[in-house]
């Protein structure tokens, strides 16, 4: 039962007409129009939701994006493949390495380049580190939406540890560009694995603390259990992917379904729950955190020590790729993350189109989920879907 009671007498609420459209007469002074965002602590990134309220209950919600539109897809059409790489990663700040991976893989597939084994392991390591730092923000962030700020502060520190390792490996903290068409830019530095293991031990402790702080906390449970429940029948209807789909009983994980890089050599099982409310969606991400730490350990144990890390590529300033098209997907912390690339034989891509999980989660699904919710839960619902506006407007 939700913390906020829904009024059972629906006679005072707007009723849908024969076309299913709500009759909301704003001049009746029964309703309030309220914009949550674009500048609001309860909104994930630069987007806003136009809410229509009856009391404190939401009767209609519309997602508005475009506050961050930088026209990346258009810009990349005017840039060389190697320049497009630097632009494409900026499409999603929270986890830019998935962009690197899908962009490089599209270019390699269309140019017919096979990357060396060593590069596959390092790419997988980077993708898992990126997932870890993203989850270290979002898992405690779910508590933060209910005012449980201490977990967020712990998470920020833990994320910094991973960013330190990123800086050591790639030179960058947020944007890395360590992957490049043909492979990666180098091998792991000496002592990297040892320092990473020390960080992972800290994160292990953090994971246990978060379990205690959030999932055994009666206030968190009261606010999160039975709120914004996603019916399993919605998963295909709304294009739901990743942890949100896994919390509704669908074992959807690109790493298992269409294994890429070296994921078929790793031992892991995506965690699935059969009831998708805010609590369980967060719980699935908490289990993903454990899986990711385990996968980083597995990768570091199984990866070769040395080897060729980059395949031969033509001069990137004069690189023309034959006409073709492909779609490459990977599993980001939010779910399926794909890139559609079309080439026309020139030195620039004809078209690229990013498919991020938020495109469906933050528009069609969020608008549906918010109806009937309490206004105090809007931020929590958005974080439970892990919405990221830059993926929508690209």
């Amino acid at each position: 039962m939700s913390f906020f009671k829904i009024n059972t007498d629906r006679s005072k609420y707007p009723q849908p007409d024969v076309n299913g459209k709500l009759n909301i007469d704003l001049d009746s002074h029964k309703y309030v129009k309220l914009w949550q965002g674009p500048n609001h602590p309860g909104v994930t990134g630069n987007m806003s939701i136009e809410l229509t309220l009856a009391g404190d209950e939401i009767v209609e919600a519309k997602t508005h994006v475009g506050y961050l539109h930088r026209g990346f897809e258009k810009l990349i059409e005017r840039r060389l493949f190697i320049q497009g790489m630097q632009t494409s990663i900026r499409m999603c700040v929270a986890e830019p390495d998935s962009n690197e991976y899908v962009f490089c893989t599209c270019v390699e597939e269309l140019a017919g380049i096979e990357i060396p084994e060593m590069a596959k392991w390092i790419r997988a390591l980077i993708l898992e580190m990126a997932r870890l730092q993203a989850l270290l923000r979002v898992v405690p962030g779910q508590g933060g939406t209910f005012g449980l700020g201490v977990g967020v502060q712990w998470g920020v520190y833990m994320r910094e540890l991973i960013l330190d390792r990123f800086e050591e490996l790639t030179g960058g903290r947020v944007y890395h560009m360590f992957m490049t068409p043909g492979g990666v830019r180098g091998l792991l530095p000496d002592g990297f694995k040892k320092r990473m293991e020390e960080n992972l031990k800290e994160i292990d402790k953090f994971i246990d603390r978060i379990d205690n702080l959030m999932y055994n906390n009666s206030v968190f449970k009261k606010r999160a259990v039975d709120v914004a429940v996603i019916d399993p029948s919605w998963v295909n209807k709304y294009g739901i992917v990743g942890p949100v789909a896994r919390s509704a009983g669908f074992k959807r994980d690109v790493r298992k379904d269409n294994p890429y890089l070296i994921y078929d050599q790793l031992d892991f099982d995506p965690f699935v729950i059969n009831y998708s409310d805010i609590y369980n969606r967060s719980r699935v991400r908490w289990h993903d955190l454990i899986t990711t730490v385990d996968l980083i350990r597995q990768i570091m144990a199984k990866m070769p020590e040395k080897g060729q890390f980059k395949a031969e590529t033509p001069n990137v300033l004069h690189w023309r790729i034959p006409k073709g098209e492909t779609y490459v997907r990977s599993e980001a912390s939010r779910g399926e993350y794909g890139l559609y690339m079309v080439t026309d034989g020139s030195d620039k891509p004809r078209r690229i189109n990013l498919r991020g999980p938020s495109y469906t989660h933050a528009v069609a699904l969020l608008e549906e989920l918010l109806v009937g919710a309490n206004i105090a839960d809007v931020g929590a619902i958005m974080v439970s879907l892990q919405t990221c506006p830059p993926e929508i407007e690209r």
């Binding site: 597939e109 709304y238 078209r351 528009v363």
Partner: protein, 175 residues
């Protein structure tokens, strides 16, 4: 995947079949066939996950290419259905009744390419742009640089010098 394509060929007119990867194929169909093929794949072939609706502008042929990506989660493969539509007055049958997220894709394509999908919900509402009065910006003939130069004030840039000439003038003023 080949079995599926052969099976579909008996009912639908498929052209330009490309087996890109073992788990990804592309086919081209006529504009009128797309919705019936997509519906058939969803209802009878297990393609329950709609991945992406995208558009490519082939300005030299005066055509738009619409690509519908469908995924079969049980068989773990994707089928991309391409169709070519006229670029001058682009119109396509709406598929918003099949998957909920398609309405969003169609709204974006209307705004960015000017493709009309009659009947699609909230099609004419602003999606990303606001108060846009130029040609749809993702079309190939829209020049981003020219638009920026005409629309925004030119920025005053600080005076710069060629380093070698500047140093020469400082160090050897008489030469």
């Amino acid at each position: 995947m080949k079995d599926l394509i052969e099976k579909l060929s008996k009912t639908f007119e498929l052209k330009d079949v490309v087996f890109q990867r073992p788990d990804l194929s592309f086919v081209t169909v006529k504009k009128e066939t797309v919705i019936s093929l997509v519906t058939h794949l969803r209802d009878y072939e297990g393609f329950s996950h709609f991945v992406l609706l995208s558009c490519v502008d082939w300005i030299e042929d005066n055509l738009f290419q619409l690509t519908y990506f469908l995924n079969n989660p049980d068989q773990k493969y994707d089928l991309a259905i391409r169709c070519m539509i006229d670029r001058t007055e682009p119109t396509m049958t709406s598929a918003h009744h099949l998957w909920k997220q398609i309405a969003t894709y169609q709204r974006e394509l209307k705004e960015m390419y000017g493709i009309d999908f009659p009947g699609s919900p909230r099609l004419n509402e602003n999606f990303i742009l606001e108060g846009w009065d130029n040609i749809p910006p993702m079309r190939r003939d829209f020049d981003t640089k020219k638009y920026a130069e005409e629309t925004f004030f030119p920025r005053e840039r600080p005076k710069t010098n060629d380093p070698s000439k500047y140093m020469k003038s400082k160090l050897y003023p008489d030469e």
